[in-house]
Assembly symmetry: C2
Homo-oligomer: 133 residues x 2
């Protein structure tokens, strides 16, 4: 069942805050790394690249969790949810949008030859926030 | 099998960087929230409180992952490992040490009546770092 994000939680995801995405390894153990994030209405988008651990993990088991915090660690929000779509459509343009958001650059500067970007679309199922307002 | 942390990774954990600790819920799905961290030689310490989700999760399944990054998201390190000890011994003094590290205060300012602190001792089994040096 999808959960609503409050305006305060959405603000955290809209600003250039680094998020930390947890996925599940094949043996069921957790893996977590920093990611750039975007909002698409009530869903959270993460742009990664084919061949990395995350797309492989979420195609096997779509259950994920995200932790995001302002630079001082406050406010913060924690989301548990599910990857409902894994898509290459629009993923190249989307990584440039993320470079703009996080780096202030029009184009993603670290593209490697052969990279194929992929978007993970995450539906929140459980949302907690520690907000200042 | 314990894994070694490089000096660069240890530096990230030694400085006042927020870490994000992933644990496993009862149904095997991941949970991740920001935590303060400390180093004890080759082990990572996380101070939390009894009654919270994390101690419950790691007593059931000790497999955890940690993501930590500098304020710009770089350098960063990702650890997968196992909680090898959950202890209340020294946990009250240790939360004050963490308040000093992260807040510059001699005493943890947010203690609640009845709080019982607990230290999770994490042994890294897999360490990756994206370092500037």
């Amino acid at each position: 069942m999808p959960a609503q994000m409050t305006p305060g939680v959405k603000k955290l995801f809209s600003e250039a805050n680094l998020a930390h995405l947890a996925t599940l390894m094949k043996d069921g153990s957790p893996q977590v790394t920093p990611v750039w994030v975007d909002l698409d209405g009530e869903r959270i988008l993460v742009n990664t690249a084919e061949g990395r651990v995350k797309p492989r993990n979420v195609r096997r088991d779509p259950r994920v969790a995200i932790s995001i915090a302002g630079s001082t660690g406050y406010p913060s929000a924690f989301v548990r949810g599910r990857v409902v779509k894994v898509t290459n459509d629009g993923a190249e343009a989307h990584i440039d949008k993320m470079a703009k958001k996080y780096l202030g650059q029009d184009e993603y500067p670290w593209a490697q030859p052969g990279d194929r970007r992929v978007i993970l679309v995450i539906e929140p199922e459980y949302v907690t926030g520690m907000m200042t307002d």
